[in-house]
């Protein structure tokens, strides 16, 4: 009998926790200690929490590593724990019907996990596990064997571009800041919503990247800018900082090199505009996050007026890898101008929702159908929105487009910080565009005219169209407005705000025209343009629709055909969803 310990890894990312991961982990711990499992089988069992490994639609995911074999269970609930312990941990037999299916493999197969690699494998609250996988070696190498300029050269060689939005070359940005003679300098890591899995799954990589960056530009202080409400991310980063400090990786005289570096949290509060570098700095300074005019650029005059570098957590997570394995190696991944990988949150109507890391240049087809496993309910794919709210909408016709900075720019979109939402035939593009515009106008800081008034006007016009009161001239006005906003807004938010409209309009013009000229919403989403009626041939007169109708708009006797009074109908769709015979028509 082997005495190799058995590892039990329970996914405790945001999604894993939401699905009950903590309870599952507690069950494992409880079962194992209560029933004396370790004594029974004569080896150690170590249930532990790990970060998100991406395949969130099947959470809670649990890995059992027994005798070198890894078995992954999906959709684990606390009730299932007892049997897993009995059959698998004690008995050594995996429960086949609970393990992940082929889609788990295909979900992972096409990904290229560099930064996400350790997520889901190591305990994010253990610096020893991070060190065991060569953690902080890159930082040691940078500080003991390289000059700051060497470090920057290496990052330049890698071709790494900022993963936060603009896609500016990271090494070049650092170089500008490095050249500035003013001190102190600051380095800021923005931990955005998309970066949460990184912070939760492998926080030390972020800390190490920030440390190396700080060394490269000669900053004495690093800030972790993170929304306070990301409790788990904050907690894991906090633990990571404490552990790193204990080991002497941050604090005074790091690695005995005389370099002092401190890391401090700066808690932001919810504001989309804080994704903009200068707005973020205003926020750290405790002000309203209204972007500053540029130039001067932050690398010259940033936080508290001092030279500052801002990158997001994904960018920083790449740094230890680049220093460790070399810029050359890194630049072998990706396309000519876009190197490395990019993490996306794949969501929407795709079957495998989750966190994915793909090499730059991968086609949308491979992402949606390969990794994503196609569309839910085998509906037809309609479009993909990439780059967050101010990104662009990519139509089906562009499925074979390779995802990189250049290609997305060509089609009027951006890589952004890594949102990717998939729409199917049931989604109305005009309504989706309106949704994004509603978000953008709400998040506009209100400082500059084109964005403050422009986003509002665009929203009003889109609302008009979804309500069936739009005219052709409104489309022309929207285009004109888009031009002004893109050309003259103060910051990226306003300049990219027209993207959803411009891209959707260029690819789905017919759908817009249907709303305007035919007063119809082809996807049946825009309530003002749809009518619910009873298909007399299918109605069995069960009366369910009548009962669920909140507006008392449905009349009819039992076993007789029911009728909807269009004047009373509030188009809530309750009858449509309730009818078991598909007898309610939506037009």
């Amino acid at each position: 009998m082997s005495s190799q310990p058995i590892e039990i890894k329970v996914c405790l990312g945001t999604s894993g926790s939401a699905a009950g991961g903590e309870e599952v982990l507690r069950m494992f711990q409880h079962r194992i200690s209560e029933q004396g499992i370790e004594a029974q089988i004569g080896r150690r069992c170590t249930p532990k929490k790990v970060g998100c490994r991406g395949f969130c639609s099947r959470d809670v995911l649990v890995d059992i590593i027994r005798d070198g074999n890894k078995t992954t269970y999906q959709s684990v609930t606390p009730i299932m724990v007892e049997r897993i312990v009995q059959d698998h941990i004690v008995g050594g037999t995996a429960i086949a019907e609970w393990t992940v299916t082929d889609e788990y493999a295909s979900f992972h197969e096409k990904q290229h996990k560099i930064v996400l690699g350790p997520c889901g494998e190591i305990d994010p609250e253990s610096i020893d596990e991070y060190i065991a996988m060569q953690g902080y070696l890159a930082a040691r190498k940078a500080m003991t064997r390289m000059t700051p300029d060497d470090v920057i050269d290496e990052v330049v060689r890698s071709g790494l571009r900022g993963r936060g939005g603009s896609g500016f070359l990271t090494g070049e940005k650092w170089k500008v800041c490095r050249r500035e003679e003013q001190h102190p300098k600051y380095i800021i890591c923005n931990v955005g919503e998309v970066n949460r899995p990184l912070a939760e799954g492998n926080p030390h990589a972020i800390i190490e990247g920030l440390l190396i960056g700080g060394y490269a530009i000669c900053a004495s202080k690093g800030y972790l800018y993170i929304r306070e409400r990301y409790h788990r991310s904050v907690e894991r980063l906090r633990i990571a900082i404490e552990q790193a400090r204990e080991k002497g990786f941050i604090g005074p005289n790091v690695f005995g090199t005389g370099f002092d570096f401190e890391i401090e949290f700066s808690f932001g509060t919810e504001a989309f505009i804080c994704g903009e570098e200068t707005a973020l700095m205003e926020s750290i300074e405790g002000k309203r996050a209204m972007p500053r005019v540029r130039p001067p650029f932050p690398a010259v005059q940033g936080l508290w007026g001092k030279p500052t570098v801002i990158n997001n957590a994904e960018t920083f997570s790449n740094i230890p890898i680049i220093i460790g394995r070399g810029g050359e190696w890194f630049s072998s991944i990706g396309t000519k101008e876009s190197k490395g990988t990019k993490v996306f949150t794949l969501s929407g109507k795709v079957r495998n929702n989750g966190l994915v890391e793909i090499p730059m240049g991968m086609s949308f087809r491979d992402i949606v159908y390969g990794i994503g496993g196609g569309i839910e309910g085998d509906k037809a794919l309609k479009a993909i929105q990439v780059g967050g709210p101010s990104g662009g909408i990519i139509p089906t016709s562009m499925l074979d487009l390779g995802l990189d900075y250049e290609n997305l720019a060509k089609v009027g979109s951006i890589v952004g910080s890594g949102g990717m939402v998939v729409f199917d035939e049931d989604d109305c593009i005009v309504s989706v565009t309106k949704f994004y515009m509603e978000f953008l106008q709400r998040e506009s800081c209100g400082k500059c005219t084109p964005c403050r008034v422009g986003t509002r006007r665009m929203l009003e016009l889109l609302t008009k169209i979804t309500e069936g009161t739009g005219g052709d001239e409104d489309l022309r006005t929207l285009e004109r407005l888009s031009g002004v906003m893109a050309a003259t807004s103060l910051c990226g938010l306003g300049r990219s705000a027209p993207n959803p409209f411009l891209t959707s309009f260029s690819h789905f013009k017919d759908e817009y025209l249907a709303h305007i000229r035919d007063r119809k919403c082809p996807a049946g989403v825009c309530t003002a343009l749809i009518i619910f009626s009873v298909n007399e041939e299918q109605c069995k007169g069960c009366g369910l629709c009548k009962r669920v109708c909140p507006a008392k708009a449905i009349a009819g006797e039992v076993k007789k055909i029911h009728l909807i009074d269009p004047d009373r109908c509030i188009k809530c769709g309750a009858c449509f969803r309730a009818c078991k015979f598909k007898a309610i028509k939506k037009q």
Partner: protein, 158 residues
């Protein structure tokens, strides 16, 4: 009261924190940021009240009226939106008996909030009750969640 405020002030001075950090601390302590508290800190720190108000109203997280004992946040990001976040919001509103312009129940037991994307798109739609994220929600689950919670005791602020 003055003692609590002084404690916050001392800590703020010690940490040399920003105005946002101060407001976060006030809100953590009292659940909201009252006009009187702003006046007090404005006087002590010699920062005009208008700066406080500007920051408070910029970030939706800050509130000037008392918050409910429990906070329900419905994420309204893109992924949640197309999976029916609006319906969840309506359901929650109805379950709590809130009108469109109210966000807190009269008995201060619940506050309902909207969040822009909280980054849990892959498990959309999500609802956050206090600190717990609930994934894959639908109107029935939301109602259950609220009704289930209403019975529980709350330890409250201060």
């Amino acid at each position: 009261m003055e003692k609590v405020l002084t404690k916050i002030l001392d800590q703020h001075r010690k940490e040399k924190g920003s105005l946002i950090a101060l407001l976060q601390r006030i809100q953590e302590t009292f659940g909201h940021i009252s006009e009187e508290n702003v006046a007090w800190f404005s006087r002590m720190l010699d920062i005009p009240e208008s700066r406080f108000f500007g920051v408070i109203t910029f970030y939706p997280k800050f509130r000037t009226s008392p918050v409910g004992k429990n906070t329900i946040t419905v994420c309204c990001g893109a992924a949640c939106h197309i999976k029916g976040a609006d319906k969840l919001l309506d359901t929650a509103r109805e379950a709590l008996g809130l009108s469109d312009d109210e966000d807190t129940t009269a008995d201060l037991s619940f506050t309902l909030q909207k969040a822009t994307c909280i980054g849990a798109c892959n498990i959309a739609p999500v609802v956050i009750l206090n600190k717990q994220v609930h994934a894959g929600m639908d109107p029935v689950k939301v109602t259950k969640l609220i009704k289930g919670y209403e019975r529980e005791e709350f330890l409250g602020y201060l």
